[in-house]
């Protein structure tokens, strides 16, 4: 484990030049957004809604095993599309340019227990601004894990493979707790703050609505299929949790992704910000369908560089971005989903133990390789 800055070979001028080249890529896509893109998101939304309706209709007869299988599979896919390719990206403002109030980051609400506005704050403002900065970006282990050697080891990290598995199964609740900053806010002195209570109430409302819909009304409407439909909606939510958790782990946790110290972002320039996003994210390779099912977060690097570009354009952007990685001799971290999931999990296991004693003390490091 060596502490080498993989960007050390770049001069300040090169970094700014890199920033300008990335700006040009962004401007090109921004200027060419149009009818085709609008048709794309409307199509995805329409397919998702029809799939969800059809799947729920099939599940009304879930006592019949093939109906359970088809309905559960369909509902799982619909729920994944709703959160990933649609919800996440609409809430990023990727489609705000269409000026359609029905597909806009300020009006959208998603099938998730974390209310859209709370998620937008913790995700868009905090995570996307302070990506991979230790102590600033809570996405680095979500406050329950250690995902880099530079994060301080504590005894509770011994259990982190288990915490991570539980978080994966109930991921949307994990995110809601995270957006509420539950760990911090449950502290006696903060618990009764009106601002926190209002936000906790909003989460409560969303949980109630989802539970009522998925675990009460839909099963009740299924009559004799009550229990099997209940199992189906629970399974669909579980599948979505496991899937989104896996995809999101692949975004910043695999080996080769860099983290940054708090001090390193002081006075950060546009070019340096871009560079941090490039080094702090990892992609997943795969087919077009695979990209859609990950909400195009398989293009995590491109998404972090340009969070508000329409998701259907990341694939074309990725070719150009990869060209810049080559040009500036930087490592483009990417791999298949199984490989990246394995890599991320291995890190979770490895870092549950304290660092081995091979680390050389380096007081003034700016960047540290994992």
């Amino acid at each position: 484990m060596t502490a080498i800055d993989p960007t050390a070979h770049l001069t300040a001028a090169q970094i700014e030049e890199l920033g300008r080249e990335l700006d040009a890529i962004r401007d090109e896509v921004m200027a060419s957004r149009g009818e085709r893109d609008a048709a794309y998101i409307r199509k995805v939304i329409s397919v998702q809604r029809k799939l969800e309706l059809a799947s729920r209709a099939v599940l009304l007869f879930s006592l019949f095993p093939p109906a359970w299988l088809i309905g559960t599979a369909g509902l799982s896919v619909a729920k994944i599309l709703e959160n990933m390719e649609i919800g996440h990206n609409v809430l990023h403002g990727q489609w705000d340019w269409m000026r359609d109030p029905k597909i806009h980051s300020t009006t959208w609400e998603w099938d998730h227990v974390s209310p859209a506005d709370q998620w937008k704050h913790s995700h868009n403002e905090l995570h996307h601004t302070y990506t991979n900065v230790i102590g600033k970006d809570n996405d680095l282990g979500y406050g329950i894990m250690r995902v880099d050697e530079d994060q301080k080891w504590q005894p509770m990290h011994l259990g982190q493979p288990l915490w991570n598995f539980i978080n994966a199964c109930f991921f949307e609740y994990g995110i809601a707790a995270y957006d509420l900053e539950l760990g911090k806010n449950l502290h006696k002195r903060r618990r009764n703050r009106p601002e926190f209570r209002a936000r906790a109430k909003a989460v409560g409302r969303k949980i109630r609505k989802q539970v009522l819909k998925d675990y009460v009304i839909h099963p009740l409407l299924s009559g004799p299929s009550f229990l099997t439909t209940l199992a189906a909606t629970f399974t669909a939510n579980l599948v979505r949790n496991l899937w989104t958790h896996s995809v999101i782990m692949c975004g910043h946790f695999p080996e080769g992704v860099q983290v940054f110290e708090r001090r390193s972002i002081e006075g950060e320039t546009r070019g340096q910000w871009y560079l941090r996003q490039m080094m702090g994210s990892a992609n997943i390779s795969g087919s077009k369908l695979m990209h859609i099912m990950t909400g195009n977060l398989s293009h995590q690097i491109e998404h972090h560089l340009f969070p508000d570009l329409p998701s259907n354009r990341y694939a074309e952007v990725a070719v150009k971005v990869r060209g810049l990685f080559d040009k500036y001799e930087l490592q483009y971290v990417t791999g298949s989903l199984p490989r990246q999931v394995f890599s991320a999990w291995r890190k979770v296991f490895r870092l549950s133990l304290p660092n081995k004693k091979v680390k050389t003390p380096e007081p003034e490091r700016e960047l540290v390789a994992a």
Partner: protein, 351 residues
């Protein structure tokens, strides 16, 4: 339980099933024109009128409440994927048998929406609609003698009136550059042939712009006539002055397609507090454009300060009305028309 109470209960139950979406989000997939939906319309046909004008036939949704001849309707059209709103006069009569309405659009140079409607829109496209509005209409008691004074696409609301009902004694003075530029030329000549209308057609390319003083020759009894005028600002300004000079301003009704006066001052930093965006704006750019440019969801309509489709609360700071230069300062309940207001120092717009 009454029927409506039962229905609203059923609807509430349905909302529990569709959360976080609304039942209408699903129903829209099936029938965007149904009763209870946001008002929309489907383009059924596009008929060219002149080289740069066309009539769009629209089947309005079930919620359409009808119009009065001379009124305009706001339409929201997706141009290159972006929803843009404009206002156009309704050119069909109220009693059209098939329930369709028409708007007639002249493609303006650089006009995004007008060019799209005239040249690109395909039958079958669903557009957004608003209820018809506007007070450029005939009174309940029909005047005995009427004068219509129009130019260019200013003929459109007047055509709506002429098609809607017959007039005992109507004169139309209409200007266009050339004969082939006259929108509805065949219809107008038919009306004149049937003696339903006295038509005075002026071609400005050969005869020059209409000098308002010539009205004495063209329509000797113009002052006795209740007059409806629509066209470019130059014509309307001249008409207003002329009628006022003769002390009969109350007999003149005008409809403007564009704001008249532009007064600019210093701009400022504009905050859109709901969206959480802050941008610098100059004192000449309407806040509507500033917001749209910044990706803020701004309601909009005629973009010339008449339809009030864009009104938005002003939370803090001050804005200047671009037509009058008047300054409006923030107070609880103050609404501004963003299409004709520019920043006058830092301000906060609730969007």
């Amino acid at each position: 339980m009454t029927n409506t109470a039962l229905r609203s209960r059923a609807w509430k139950l349905l909302e529990l099933v569709t959360t976080p979406l609304l039942p209408s989000d699903y129903l829209d997939l099936v029938n965007p024109l149904r009763a209870g939906a946001d008002l929309r319309g489907r383009v059924e046909a596009v008929h060219p009128e002149t080289g740069d004008a066309a009539t769009i036939v629209i089947k309005p949704g079930r919620g359409w409440r009808g119009h009065v001849a001379g009124q305009y309707v706001r339409v929201g059209v997706d141009v290159d994927g972006v929803r843009l709103w404009r206002a156009y006069s309704v050119t069909s009569p109220r009693d059209r048998a098939d329930g369709r309405i028409t708007i007639t659009v002249k493609a303006m140079p650089d006009g995004k929406v007008s060019n799209h409607l005239v040249r690109k829109i395909k039958p079958g496209t669903v557009i957004q609609l608003d209820q018809a509005t506007g007070d450029f209409v005939q009174p309940a008691d029909k005047p005995a003698k009427v004068l219509f004074l129009t130019a260019g696409s200013g003929i459109t609301p007047v055509m709506g009136m002429l098609r809607d009902s017959s007039f005992d004694d109507a004169v139309l003075v209409h200007s266009a550059p050339k004969p082939q530029d006259v929108i509805f030329r065949a219809d107008l000549h038919d009306l004149a042939a049937d003696e339903a209308l006295r038509l005075i057609e002026l071609h400005t390319d050969t005869q020059g712009m209409l000098d308002i003083a010539r009205l004495d020759d063209l329509v000797p009894d113009w002052a006795e006539r209740e007059t409806w005028a629509c066209g470019p600002a130059g014509l309307l300004d001249a008409a207003e002055e002329h009628w006022a000079r003769h002390g009969i301003a109350d007999r003149l009704h005008t409809e403007r397609f564009r704001p008249s006066v532009v007064v600019a001052g210093d701009g400022g930093e504009v905050t859109f507090s709901t969206t959480g965006k802050t941008v610098d704006a100059d004192g000449a750019t309407p806040l509507l454009d500033v917001g749209e440019e910044a990706g803020v969801l701004m309601p909009s309509g005629c973009r010339m300060g008449i339809c009030f489709g864009c009104v938005t609360p002003l939370k803090a700071g001050a804005v200047r009305d671009l037509r009058t230069g008047e300054i409006t300062e923030a107070e609880p309940g103050v609404l501004i028309q963003t299409c004709v207001s520019a920043a006058a120092g830092p301000c906060d717009i609730e969007r």
